[in-house]
Subunit: 208 residues, 2 copies
């Protein structure tokens, strides 16, 4: 799977949210759910959920709804997270450290495999069981570990250079925490995490 053509990217973007809800249902011991129940939990219309899932096949049955475990496994396969992706973290400041220590990656298909920084004071330090390596070692190490996924947690001024080096070493998916838009070649995917953009989105609606 993962190669079905012409599925809108916005649909793909909702699948991880469905997967997260299903994993909570599994923890709760729930065996069956419905698009209605998922919609209630997620604040998404049930019609939208049915339509999104219909791109990938027939997962539900009239009357009984979706089998939680089955749908969970199917979406894991679609998103290719029924495997473990090794990840590089570049930038071992406060944020990079938080990412290195974050417990939520492994159960969802990812594992921090290497850490890089350009600060000599940090290189060789043990962070979350990994030795921080220098930026000079990055390309070789990323290639050696066949890392395809990286998180950039360096200042905005350094982010594009780091991204270029990662892409050269074979990285194809970048989660960028630096507040700057990256230029990458076709076939390389970038997603952004900018908390301020989310905050500013919400203050639009607040009465002063």
């Amino acid at each position: 799977m993962g190669n079905i053509p012409n599925i809108p990217d916005i649909v793909i973007g909702r699948l991880p949210i469905y997967l997260r809800a299903l994993s909570h249902m599994i923890e709760e011991g729930k065996e069956y759910t419905s698009s209605h129940e998922m919609g209630e939990r997620l604040g998404i219309s049930s019609a939208q959920i049915r339509k999104d899932l219909s791109h990938f096949g027939e997962f539900g049955k009239q009357g009984t709804g979706y089998n939680v475990g089955y749908l969970f496994e199917q979406i894991r396969q679609i998103l290719q997270v029924d495997q473990q992706w090794p990840m590089a973290v570049v930038g071992v400041g406060d944020l990079g450290r938080a990412l290195a220590h974050y417990k939520g990656f492994v159960s969802r298909g990812f594992q921090v495999a290497c850490l890089f920084d350009n600060n000599p004071a940090l290189i060789g330090e043990d962070v979350a069981g990994l030795k921080v390596m220098s930026i000079e070692q990055m390309k070789d190490e990323v290639r050696r570990q066949k890392v395809k996924v990286a998180m950039i947690a360096v200042p905005a001024s350094a982010a594009q250079t780091v991204a270029n080096q990662l892409v050269e070493a074979g990285v194809r998916a970048i989660l960028n925490y630096a507040p700057i838009t990256l230029a990458v070649p076709p076939g390389v995917h970038v997603q952004y995490i900018d908390p301020v953009a989310h905050l500013q989105h919400m203050t639009y609606y607040l009465k002063p």
Copy 2:
């Protein structure tokens, strides 16, 4: 401003991205730009940018384009970030610490004003110049400082309870880092930051 009716939320969500690009242009000393140039930087079509901005007025001139400083100020006003919003951070683990230390808030309209945790070992500790307070003190302190914006960085199991207490104390915008969908009353805004959801979105497209 900020009360123009019927503007799609997805348009509002793009304004912070435009604001970020404009602030980089100001740093570069650029005086004028165009929807074309902004689109190139952001990977958004120039037509989309013109359409988005046209909801709020006439900012550009045929021929000369947009005055960078003027458009920047206008969008700041629209998003109501031409003021400083005090923020609460709940949960002072690795992530909460990274947020408390993050230098990027102040220039963009936000300031971490108080930190809360339920771990007695952390209460009273100085983090980024603020004393960590207990969850029991949260409602009073949030009311006292008139905090309307909060970031939740607690485990998923505690996030809903924390959100309820924040809303009771007057918080109207929550940036939730816990990987769980929150239920909040009408008039309260929630945005989510879940790095794994972004990663899973990208692995869909990767060849295994």
